[in-house]
Symmetry: C2
Subunit: 192 residues, 2 copies
């Protein structure tokens, strides 16, 4: 998740994701983003004529697609892919992040949702689209592991709900323990 070799436009979307993860959407100003991205000061209006809403909307979908890519990378990497293995893989991303960088940055979808859904923001559309893409990717991987489609959709809802809450819990405690716990506890259910 580095910001190298990207265009100023891409860097601004990426910077938005990172800042929202730490400060929330309301706490992230356009000026902060331009500075974090090292983008030319006048370029924001040019790239994002829809203003901050457009920027945050694109950041939300960027973050969702990052999750989708991560989920899809699991099967190729696993010797014997299982639903519980996929869930452990999803948690591993966060354990690595928290282990390397500390607990400052959480899930961008959760952070944006917390600020924006109750404010009737237009970004709500991208938030819904984002979680649907992520859930569809998880369900698709489960189906590829021979879970029936209807059950796969339900398990995907469970897995994403649980991981989101465990991310929150881990950050509140400054401890990856909740991630480890939910992975171990859900394993028999997911592989059953």
């Amino acid at each position: 998740m580095t910001g190298e070799a990207r265009s100023p436009r891409e860097r601004m979307v990426y910077s938005t994701v990172q800042l929202v993860r730490a400060r929330g959407a309301t706490g992230t100003g356009v000026r902060d983003v331009v500075e974090h991205a090292g983008a030319p000061r006048g370029s924001f209006q040019h790239y994002f004529p829809g203003g901050k809403d457009q920027l945050v909307g694109e950041a939300v979908l960027w973050a969702a697609d990052y999750q989708v890519d991560w989920v899809r990378a699991y099967r190729a990497s696993a010797r014997k892919p299982t639903p519980a293995g996929l869930f452990a893989h999803m948690a591993r991303m966060w354990k690595q992040e928290f282990g390397t960088r500390g607990f400052d940055r959480g899930c961008p979808l959760m952070a944006a949702a917390a600020d924006l859904v109750g404010a009737d923001s237009v970004v709500s559309d991208q938030l819904r689209e984002g979680i649907e893409r992520w859930e569809a990717a998880v369900a698709g991987e489960l189906v590829a592991m021979a879970v029936p489609a209807r059950r796969a959709k339900r398990l995907a809802t469970l897995m994403i709900s649980t991981i989101e809450g465990a991310i929150m819990s881990a950050r509140l405690r400054g401890d990856v323990g909740p991630l480890t716990t939910v992975v171990a506890e859900l394993a028999p259910l997911l592989d059953g």
Copy 2:
């Protein structure tokens, strides 16, 4: 959760909970709180010499204790209390809220966590304390239903993580479906 018959101080804490649930902690200004609470304009400094941090910290613990009370109310109300029944009871609060009032207001702990943990806020202490009280209450109820203490703690982590993520997912979709799904999916594991 009404604001009747409370002192101005209590009303300000209560209003903070409600505003943070919809707008996040960063998006909630002291002026909004005073207005929402119908409190005398000069009273804020008097009641909260520690400023907004003190106010939000108290709001976080108020919200946690509200969850604790809700969790503890289950056993007396159930004919045959079970861990899965407790989890359904936890979800019911949110299904009622979303069914009655729509999806504007989410969990105040999640909203405050999203904004504040990455900002090294002093409120992080209350957030940690809040989730620990809530988890201890859930674990205590499980123990009262004959779940061994160590397992009760792990299941409490799972239940709170899952409910938090399902609240977020329900709000993003404008649909209580994710809450219904996680209750049904976790039931065999919780009662197993």
